[in-house]
């Protein structure tokens, strides 16, 4: 959720920031051009006036003073003028060259030589203002010139400092404003995205919780009538339907079980009564086998329904803490005589107590099925190694034998219902039952043939949290 909120707000902010930056660049360009046009207009106007004055003023001793005076007056009317620290006027210069190109009149900071050198080097065309870089000045001048009839040139330079200062101020203010807007925008987008995604997250969490355990609860609504709320609504509709079908399945299996069990009970009762009645003689054998068959049918019925429910993820679990190691020891004790009668040896390799939170009834039957499976399918004089180890939050129980292994035609399907080996006497439910029970507990089960020969069945179940104790 965090990363998604981050990503969304980051991209949105980036797009917004880039957009506003572009708009600003256009504005900046426009303002800069406008300022320059205005100062160019001023320069051109002034230089013309100065030229006029210079031409009309008689070339006598007063000429220099008059032109200088007028030039100084002109430089005081600079547009967009800003105060300088030094107090003297270094933003404007006036320069007149003699017809041989030497400096004739100078108004401005310094002696004007470097300005003259720069003017000569750049070859300024009269009547069009252009930039002039002068040694000793960081900021270029904008220079307009005019050629007088007597062959002299008049140059009027205006430092671009004020203009640049203006633009810099503009940029600085924009940048501050831009940054705060971007940060604010990011915060707003992030906050709202996170809130929205938080709702999605809560829905996801609730859905997964419902999927794992309780089908009767529902995903929370957000309260707004938006897409997220729609999602919750859709999910809840879906859950309603799932719950209904689940309920139907339970009803069907329950009523099927009920309808079959009542007659089975009556039949079994009557058979038992006739067994206990005296002098039945030769009929006893057939009654006994009828009772045994009936018990098989019952167990088959139970397991079929469990497997059907399990495959529909509808098994009801009543979890308690179970120590698998202890359970295995009891099971080994229970199966040892039957195994040793077939000369099958069993070995338990355990790392110690392995506590899981599971339904005891189902786990007992699941483990019994694993033992039954070995007992039924292993030829005499084989060996079963039962390993129990803890592995990354799970208990892994492995049954390895050195028998013939799974027949190749069933190897991939051993956990499917009704799949059994070519010479199996079982009803093909045992391992399917193992699979559904393990899956219902959030575990995994795998089966394969070992390289060394023999079959390997591996069951992994989630460990009860924080209960691993060394042996």
């Amino acid at each position: 959720m965090w990363s998604a909120a981050w990503r969304i707000s980051l991209w949105a902010t980036l797009a917004f920031a880039l957009g506003t930056m572009l708009v600003f660049l256009f504005l900046h360009r426009f303002v800069a051009d406008d300022v320059q046009r205005r100062s160019d207009a001023w320069l051109s106007g002034e230089v013309e006036v100065l030229g006029d004055v210079a031409e009309r003023t008689p070339k006598d001793a007063l000429y220099d003073r008059v032109v200088k005076e007028v030039a100084e007056l002109a430089t005081k009317e600079v547009p967009n003028r800003l105060r300088t620290n030094s107090g003297q006027n270094d933003s404007v210069f006036f320069l007149q060259t003699a017809d041989d190109g030497s400096l004739r009149l100078w108004v401005g900071t310094g002696d004007g030589r470097s300005n003259l050198i720069a003017i000569r080097a750049s070859g300024i065309v009269p009547d069009t203002p252009s930039d002039l870089h002068v040694r000793g000045f960081e900021i270029p001048f904008r220079v307009a010139s005019i050629r007088l009839d007597d062959g002299t040139h008049i140059y009027l330079g205006l430092s671009e400092r004020d203009e640049l200062q203006l633009l810099r101020n503009l940029r600085l203010r924009f940048l501050l404003l831009w940054l705060s807007i971007v940060i604010l925008g990011f915060a707003i987008v992030f906050y709202s995205t996170r809130r929205m995604l938080g709702n999605v997250q809560r829905i996801a969490e609730a859905a997964s919780r419902i999927g794992q355990s309780d089908l009767s609860s529902r995903v929370p609504r957000t309260g707004h009538d938006d897409e997220i709320s729609q999602l919750a609504l859709t999910l809840n509709h879906m859950l309603d339907r799932i719950e209904r079908s689940m309920h139907q399945l339970h009803t069907i299996t329950d009523s099927l079980a009920h309808d079959l069990r009542s007659p089975l009970t009556a039949i079994r009762g009557k058979l038992e009564m006739s067994l206990s009645a005296p002098s039945k003689g030769e009929q006893t054998e057939s009654i006994v086998s009828a009772v045994e068959e009936l018990d098989h049918i019952t167990e088959f019925l139970n397991q079929s329904l469990d497997v059907a429910e399990g495959q529909a993820d509808a098994l009801k679990l009543h979890r308690r803490e179970i120590d698998l190691e202890q359970l295995l020891r009891v099971m080994i004790d229970l199966y040892e005589p039957s195994m040793s009668e077939k000369k099958i040896r069993m070995e338990l390799h355990s790392e110690g107590a392995a506590r899981i939170l599971a339904d005891p009834g189902l786990i007992h039957r699941m483990i019994a099925n694993l033992f039954d499976n070995e007992l039924k399918h292993l030829p005499a004089s084989c060996m079963v190694a039962i390993r129990l180890r803890n592995e990354a939050g799970a208990v892994v129980l492995t049954f390895e034998d050195d028998g013939p292994g799974f027949a190749s035609e069933v190897a991939l399907h051993v956990f499917e219902r009704r799949v059994r080996g070519p010479d199996s006497s079982g009803h093909g439910l045992g391992l399917a039952f193992v699979e559904v029970v393990v899956r219902a507990h959030g575990g995994r089960v795998t089966a394969c043939n070992r390289k060394e020969g023999g079959a390997q069945l591996s069951v992994s179940l989630p460990l009860a949290s924080g209960t691993r104790s060394p042996n």
């Binding site: 009542s262 009557k270 038992e272 067994l275 006994v288 139970n302 007992h364 019994a368």
Partner: protein
């Protein structure tokens, strides 16, 4: 001992009534909740046997109503439902018991005995068990027959102990699995039989009267006469 049997299936009701009477119980029977309530109020019963699927009301509801009326006799619930209801679990914790159909008669009788024994001193406090010439020392976990020590494993001792406690009564395989190994499972292999076979090899040695008898199709019984 008076029992009230509430079961709507007539076939089951009739065979239960017969076999329970044969086992020495006095049985009153009802086919629905209304009649059951009437009978339960009219006279006291030591145990109630209640089927969950009654035509007029749910078995659990009947039990709760009877409890509400102050009838506190223990209840044995018969259930044809597959999954054990949470409410049944609740009652089970309250001291009642349940049995899923179909069941072996021996198991029904054993559970009835457990329920009625509830208020009596438990035989598990005995330090010694005697059945004919068989003697079990519960403190040292040693068994002797005719004065001769039997060399039993702890599990075999537990099995023999269970048979002795139920001497003269039939126990089924699933009862043995539940009581001795603590598991409600029904393996489709002969694991219990092999245990019994081994135990018999140690208890009923040549020349002695065989004590452990197999009742085929039903279970086992340790003879007490």
């Amino acid at each position: 001992m008076r029992l009230l049997l509430v079961e709507d299936d007539i076939e089951i009701q009739s065979f239960l009534q017969d076999s329970l009477s044969e086992a020495g119980y006095e049985v009153e029977a009802a086919v629905d909740g209304k009649n059951a309530k009437r009978l339960a109020i009219a006279s006291a019963h030591d145990v109630l046997i209640v089927d969950l699927g009654l035509p007029d009301m749910d078995g659990i509801e009947l039990i709760l109503r009877l409890r509400h009326l102050g009838i506190s006799s223990p209840v044995l619930i018969l259930s044809a439902r597959r999954s054990v209801d949470d409410r049944v679990r609740g009652l089970e914790q309250g001291g009642d018991d349940y049995l899923t159909k179909p069941f072996a008669l021996a198991e029904l009788l054993a559970r009835l005995r457990n329920l009625t024994k509830r208020n009596l001193p438990s035989s598990s406090e005995l330090t010694r068990l005697h059945v004919l010439d068989l003697e079990l020392d519960m403190v040292r976990r040693k068994a002797t027959r005719g004065g001769e020590t039997l060399n039993l494993s702890p599990q075999e001792f537990a099995l023999l102990e269970y048979l002795c406690r139920n001497a003269g009564r039939v126990v089924t395989r699933s009862m043995i699995l539940e009581q001795v190994w603590g598991m409600r499972i029904l393996p489709d292999t002969n694991v219990v039989d092999v245990h019994i076979y081994r135990l018999r090899g140690k208890v009923d040695t040549d020349g002695l009267q065989p004590l452990i008898r197999t009742l085929r199709g039903v279970g086992y019984v340790l003879q007490d006469r």
